[in-house]
Symmetry: C2
Subunit: 241 residues, 2 copies
Amino acid sequence: MDINAKSPIPLYIQLKELLVRQIRRGELHPHDRLPSERELSERYGISRMTVRQALQLLVKEGVLYTAAGKGTYVSEVLFEQDHALTGFSEQMQRANLHASSRILEATVIPAPPYIAGKLEIPAHGGVVLLKRLRLANEKPVAIETAYLPQNLCPDLLQHDFSRESLYAVLREEYGLVPASAIQVVEAALANVEEAQLLELHPPAAVLRMERVTRTPQNVVIEYVESVYRGDRYKFYAHLRA
Amino acid sequence: MDINAKSPIPLYIQLKELLVRQIRRGELHPHDRLPSERELSERYGISRMTVRQALQLLVKEGVLYTAAGKGTYVSEVLFEQDHALTGFSEQMQRANLHASSRILEATVIPAPPYIAGKLEIPAHGGVVLLKRLRLANEKPVAIETAYLPQNLCPDLLQHDFSRESLYAVLREEYGLVPASAIQVVEAALANVEEAQLLELHPPAAVLRMERVTRTPQNVVIEYVESVYRGDRYKFYAHLRA
DNA sequence: AGTCTATAGTGGTATAGACCAGGTATGACC
DNA sequence: GGTCATACCTGGTCTATACCACTATAGACT
């Protein structure tokens, strides 16, 4: 397994993946010291700056850590890819559950001031409203109400969102890729409508979530309000300093 | 406002802060194009590689975004610093609330297998247990039970954690800095003990949180189980792809 | 034995130069 | 007017080299 200078894949990416493979295969263990940057540079015939580009990426990802004057070391654990910014469908797919939806509402409305503020658009601008009951293996899990700026995704409601994934359509049809999100979660008791839709017997606890999702350019794609069944949903987050 | 080559502050940090100041002062607006890398390099008398180091940091932080062949642009919004990885005391301080605690339990125990697994230490290894009722402006907000590997922080319980911040002591006395954490949040109904401590009248919703916190080397510092009053606590998270 | 001191190695910072692929504008040509 | 080619600009990748501050070690000196 070596580095190919003629490959279209950048050298620093090749080195990065080579190192990750070595760690996964157990050739490098947690807290093992890597060869020095100068040594890696010589061994693979690439410049030290290019080696550093690979190493710094891995440090940023938490795979390696450095100690100036000492060396570069393998971290204690390898994190999985971050799954934080996926939609409901992708999350269920990852858990091997069958995701489906029942459309409760799908219309275009002029933005109420509160929603316009969240979406950072002028008041009364066109907003796509999509309210769905979310099911995992045919059992209700959540009520999700999404608001999207109409100008970013005209004709969005042509799609059948009882089957299709909103995030998949946004990505494939409109080139809108979520890059970051601010999420607020709180616990509450289910109200009558929520209890009925989620098939809960009051009193029952639910998770209320709000989320504002943005593109790499930090333009708001969507504002979502969700209500999850407390007993069927846990919310994972991976935080970094 | 210029760049000082004799300063002990690295040039790329100086340039980064200079650009952030320009954006904050409104001299650069969202989606404005920055001068090209070659132009910045010439204007401030530093090499292009150093300019790139500053720009790439800002791209990673979401302040700028690049388009190959076009240029580098200012993002739509500037995010605040990430507050995700702070303890209860720091969070309350930021909200201008007075944080205090009532110690419910503070001992060293041999690790139960479940806790040992979370802390990634051998079963029956020494574990510091710290269970506190957390108050904001003298009102109960949460019950927090923290488990820490004793070998990382011997004599931790010498401190008075009804006043001191656990995170502050870990940082200042033991050099343990949280770098990442995995958090799980769910909603539930308060049980009798929780309702009594949190001064709730059943039925009441609470947020249950588990958290595993790690150092930059990915060594586990602590495992925490918390129960928050649903009506007095919201959980914020900033997610990135 | 204990302490100081070169010395060599490490990651961190910085320079100057080069080539590439993709975007943009200009102007020649039909 | 529309289309195409070209020249130029951009960020992305990569090399070779240099100096700094910090760390460990081996040897000289007390």
